[in-house]
Assembly symmetry: C2
Homo-oligomer: 200 residues x 2
């Protein structure tokens, strides 16, 4: 439909997740038509990412060195490991400023329907991290859905057998949410996980 | 939040139109984590676009040569010029296969609130195209909104004064749409533009 190279760009942008044909076209024309859009900067960063980004040898998070900045940070609490599915979950937890331990990034969750079992996940490298006995608690922070639940119960069985204390993030009503709009499963979990706040 | 280069990529993707921070993060991790995503291909295309894409000397459409493939095509009807706002409008009209004339791309529409007057648009280069007298009709296909209407009336005054026949795309109910969901303005225009289909 367009002259070759513009169509190539639209096609290539259309492969990105969440970018449909219309968005790809819009982005391509923005790149073509906007004078101050620095195309070479984006191109350079893409190549930099390909060349420089790797995965941390300890936790599997994205990193620019052999070790990510969290595993390399001596001020982090080495007695806690928080297990998450994806690097973006690390970023989400870091934004809370509630956690100062280290992470372990699985690279996904157990999902038999997608052919993802424990062997496809970054689980094996978690074991050596627990051998020294320094870690006192593993906090499982997989997504609160079917796959995340399956992964959490698989991991907890494995870790409890190794004598490690295992916890999971609380499930319940989102803060700022409206009780009447919570789905039944969430509301059910909020009941099951209720905490005594007074009385005997 | 992330290691330097990944955050750079997220920031850079976030400058693209329609890509918010969450989408930018999702795209960035897709690029980082998907083994078979060809980063260098996207980078190369971006640089190619910067180096090769230009605007057609006649119509202002995007082109890889001095003249775009439509203006260079001897089989197109040279007696018709369709005036559109953007290159993507050319593509949309081409997809209909209803039009075999040439185009003129304005690069936008008159919008005083955004500081865009006739001088900021690619209007001046339309005049030499009409001088030979070969063009018998100019079809104005600007968007059916306030800016497109303003541009259409500005152009039609200019062109009628030059003795050129000027038409505008019909406004009315979208095909396949539902009358009850049409907004009042569209429905009003559909009435105003109604065509006699029978009787005397």
């Amino acid at each position: 439909m367009y002259e070759g190279i513009v169509q190539d760009l639209i096609d290539e942008l259309g492969r990105l997740p969440g970018v449909g044909p219309k968005s790809a076209q819009r982005i391509a024309f923005h790149i073509v038509q906007t004078q101050n859009f620095d195309v070479s900067r984006l191109a350079r960063i893409l190549l930099d990412v390909r060349d420089k980004v790797r995965f941390c040898q300890y936790c599997g998070n994205v990193a620019e060195e052999v070790t990510c900045h969290i595993c390399a940070d001596p001020d982090r609490d080495t007695t806690l490991i928080c297990v998450v599915e994806e690097p973006k979950d690390v970023a989400a937890i870091e934004r809370t400023h509630e956690y100062n331990g280290r992470y372990h990034v699985l690279g996904g969750a157990i999902s038999p329907i997608d052919g993802i079992g424990p062997d496809q996940l970054n689980i094996r490298s978690l074991m050596p991290r627990l051998e020294s006995g320094e870690v006192v608690e593993v906090i499982i922070a997989t997504d609160p859905n079917l796959e995340g639940d399956a992964t959490a119960s698989y991991l907890s069985r494995l870790l409890v057998a190794m004598g490690v204390r295992v916890s999971r993030l609380a499930s319940g009503l989102p803060v700022g949410g409206d009780l009447e709009y919570a789905d039944e499963v969430t509301l059910g979990r909020a009941f099951a996980g209720r905490r005594i706040i007074g009385g005997e």
